[in-house]
Amino acid sequence: MTLLLEAVCKSYGGHAVVQDLSYALEPGTVVALVGHNGAGKTTQIKMMLGLTRPDSGRIEVLGGDPRRPETRRHLGYLPESVQFHPGFTGRETLAFHARLKGLPEAQDALLDRVGLIEAAGRAVRGYSKGMRQRLGLAQALLGAPRLLLLDEPTSGLDPALRRELYGLVADLAAQGTTVLMSSHALTELDGHAERVIVLNRGRKIADGTLAELRRLAGLPARLTARVGGVLRRIAVNEAEKAPTLRALLAEGAEGITLEDPSLDDIYAHFLRREAA
């Protein structure tokens, strides 16, 4: 078990941010924490880093207490919209973080891996948001971590860089790294996260693979087709899909589109259910 939360509660000034939260992550999995801003994602990550103590409950990271520095040796962390001292170059910044992790200073291979080798000699002051994020990712990957915590890693990234990031994440997971990333957009996680934990006001409201969440939500797919020049919109559930399609084809339907509920629909459904 790379990460274990057991009945964790945390409140700030009487306001509960994380409530009775329990989950466990297996090695080599990519898991997404999904929730609105203020759902308690960042607070959870802070507790996993030992920066904040839970009010009650237990957190175990890589088999140890996250508040002990030694536990964090094999942990990589990318903060939300990561910042660095503007006066140092990318190479100097990465060297500093490498030394803090007890690694050699020369990390050009890593800079190359995140596509920053050409800008490595320039001061961070002149970096774009995407370049800062690349540097942040490079520092998170230092020393081949066994657990990677990525807080909103794709916010503000262009699609190309986003795809690159998910590629890196998949590579790492294949090598046995557990990746936990927070996000407020469920849609972009499709195909990238094996498991999704949906949070609302610090509570876990759904947990499973995307396919499981789809089934749990039980939202109908939307089928549109043109039959004899008339556009028909039909809502079909999983079991009705095949018979309905067959019937439509028999009627000579054209321009058939079948749209599964988007992840955002599913997310909205879980939030509505929670509110009810």
Binding site: K46, L49, L51, T52, R53, P69, E70, T71, R72, R73, L75, Y77, P79, S81, V82, Q83, F84, H85, G87, F88, E92, F96, H97, R99, L100, K101, G102, G136, Q139
Partner: protein, 272 residues
Amino acid sequence: MRPVLTIARRELAEGIRNRWVVSTTVVMAALASAIAALGSAPTGSTATAALDVVVVGLASLTIFLVPLIALLISHDAITREAERGTLLLLLSHPLSRPQVVAGKYLGQVVILLLATVVGFGVAAVFVVLRNGVEGWQAFAVMTAASVLLGAVFLALGMLTSVSVQESSTAAGIAIGLWLLFVALYDMGLLAVLVAQGGHAVPGWVMDLALALNPTDAYRLMTLGEGASAMLSGMGGVYDNSTLTPGLLTGALVLWCAVPLAAAMIVFSRRNL
């Protein structure tokens, strides 16, 4: 130990990068040289060495300037990282919070050491070239004591920095600390002595009162003995005191250690 040195090195590099090291060194050198030029001018008939005269002038200046520079360097050591958004990432690495405090403190002491030794050194060279090396021991002691005084205020600034959320709050507290130790405390002490109406205050009370203010301990240490005592008028206080240079050094070291330890404890307990 390695994380401490890494952070110390980084703090020093930051000080060089943002011109803190250069500007403080230049300020120290300029003021020290001015005092040296003025102070060593009327020699010839006096029995004291030129460097002794400079020590008195420079020490009086140091009491105001060095605590101010030290507080300026250290008051935002932690708040700056928090405001820049780099603190959480720093603390996510395998290092403890006391190590962060120790590393930053160490780096700042080196910055102050460089500024003081180079700044005062320039002035010393100036005087030595004109008037010879006589009195260099007092000058060396004064330089070392100045660094120690700076280290005290670096520790106080560090304690301020870990105790508040914002740099602006820390700056306000730092100014308050500076006023308290450099001006208000002595005024208060003087007021008490006057109020006593000439009735002698017990010696140990006076000693304690002096040791409880790092700037007084520094003043006694650099100006209490030898030729500078006569010039500065501190000799009278020193002669009536049981405080030896060893005790005064001990008091200043405690003044570093206690706020620094407190800073480590406060920072470790904070939820970020």
